[in-house]
Symmetry: C2
Subunit: 338 residues, 2 copies
């Protein structure tokens, strides 16, 4: 069993590769929910959805989806065949490929913000999630139902079922995460990060077990501050990473001093940290065994080893399914007991 701590797009691409290499049912994803947001009364879980869409896309239409065909639609309607899969957007990395934005545009007429680009098909996931939450399902249960409806066999766990919201302290004030990232396009200087709800947060059922019982743990190439940081901040998670016997590898999302996607590089710089794979290793040093860095950063290897970390240098730029699978293979090989 492999457990992956995951943020959004980078994690989702890595997971697509991993699912080429090991059966999905051996994979458990612990997903960041710090960037969840209420939009027009709907509960949106962007990171969970990005991962689900990517793993659903990974399923080939020819491949029978185990259990899905025989699963009765849970709400009495004539559910669509599960093999008619949505395709995750390769670019920009979120949402469903070819989606339209008619509902969002119409919501704008009522004065709702339209800067968070929820497509019509993507919105259905949030409508369904909100429906399930109103039926008193937990976020874990809702997530499991959604993942199953998309034919996934991997286990997708939100990091917590509780209310947990990442806020970014900036020169323009303390902003809800999506306001910082999407509405204001990450243009504000970052002073720090706050987690609203963190003190009362409990790991969702299965999260601690997924860390303690894993054969190997991977920290996906996600923003260490606002994607992985919130997961590590949930009380009990970091301690479990300290206690687990499973080896832990991280893939650096910083390559050649830049974030592959998103504002991780600017955030690190604003917070006076080094913008490098070394910094990523430094942030995870207390529980990490292996840091996987890009060949562009090969010269950082000696400094990273000084952090008492094993270093694997490889191609971490996941262009196409082949490269995604190759990266997953390399990471798994580094985690094998020698």
């Amino acid at each position: 069993m492999i457990t992956v701590l995951a943020g959004g797009t980078g994690a989702a691409r890595f997971l697509q590769g991993l699912a080429q290499v090991v059966p999905q049912r051996q994979v458990t994803v612990v997903s960041n929910t710090g960037d969840d947001v209420e939009m027009f009364g709907l509960h949106v879980s962007p990171d969970i959805d990005i991962v689900i869409y990517h793993l659903a896309s990974e399923l080939s239409p020819d491949r029978p989806v185990n259990g899905a065909a025989s699963m009765p639609p849970p709400f009495g309607g004539g559910g669509e065949p599960f093999l008619k899969l949505p395709l995750a957007n390769e670019d920009p990395g979120w949402g469903i490929g070819g989606d339209t934005f008619h509902t969002l545009e119409a919501l704008g007429r009522f004065g709702h913000p339209t800067w968070f680009h929820l497509g019509d098909r993507d919105l259905a996931t949030s409508i369904h999630r909100t429906f399930l939450l109103r039926l008193r399902r937990t976020l874990s249960q809702a997530t499991a139902e959604i993942a199953r409806a998309f034919g996934l066999e991997a286990t997708i766990l939100p990091m917590t079922d509780g209310h947990f919201r990442t806020k970014v302290a900036t020169d323009a004030g303390i902003l809800p995460f999506q306001d910082y990232l999407v509405k204001r396009q990450a243009q504000d200087r970052v002073r720090g990060v706050r987690y609203a709800g963190v003190r009362r947060a409990k790991p969702a059922p299965g999260v601690i077990e997924a860390i303690m019982d894993a054969e190997a743990i991977v920290i996906a190439p996600s923003n260490p501050i606002v994607s992985i940081g919130p997961i590590l901040a949930v009380p009990g998670v970091r301690a479990a990473l300290h206690r687990t016997k499973a080896p832990v590898a991280a893939v650096s999302p910083i390559v050649g001093g830049k974030a592959l996607k998103g504002p991780a590089d600017r955030m690190l710089a604003d917070m006076r940290m080094e913008v490098s794979a070394w910094q990523v290793g430094q942030l995870y040093q207390d529980f990490l065994n292996v840091l996987v860095i890009d060949q562009a950063d090969a010269e950082l290897a000696p400094r990273i080893r000084e952090l008492d970390l094993e270093v694997v240098v490889t191609d971490t730029i996941m262009k196409g399914m082949e490269k995604k699978a190759a990266l997953a293979r390399t990471v798994l090989a580094a985690l094998k007991p020698t």
Copy 2:
């Protein structure tokens, strides 16, 4: 001030005509909410929306919408200009013209029923209504906000803010109204109608006043059993129609022994009533002054007069805006004090 008791499509078409003849701000609509339905956790008010879309379509894009341009969007976003109006669907009579169904299709993947055809733009109205209701707005308040967002100047009142659901007793059991009408295509033999919640229902704020203070009242050409019937069943409404000094006219939705739209003819037949304009007059006899019938039914006039009703014979088939306006003019003329 003119008050119109309204169901769905027939009422909405009549109101389009009325709005050609008198300023919208002099019109108050009391809308049936007995066919409201919860779909995927969203509160759908089909009759209210049909009326709003039709009245919004009636506004010419050249005509300035009073107050709308200067109204700040209520939720901080950059609301679309209000003059970019949705067009009500002339056929089938509900929804927004040219709408797509991508969200609904995607909801089907989760097992939600897809037989209630909510388009993507149409769905935005229900998302917004649900959002407002969750903010503890009443249905009246939510309806007013939605009508304003569409640039309407007419007052749209739900018949009640309470939970009121029309059920149709059929050979196949007691069905929620939309199950009877849309899901099962009104194919079941009807034994009667029940109104869940009727005993505790109160007229929404303004409904009784709209009846008592009106200069004239029109019962729109809507199904007398399941569109107007629920409004009349709200405690206090029928009594107000008895007490009001305003003259009351009804336009028969039955022409030549057939319903212009929907299952009114079959329902009347199943319930062993005459399928005719006379029957409509008979159902409203206790509060009606004038029945407007189609020229195809001219021979019914003497029998209708025996019900102690005034009869106006005219063309009630509302093909095109000209005929809609002509019908409204005829109805208003019949209501003028002589």
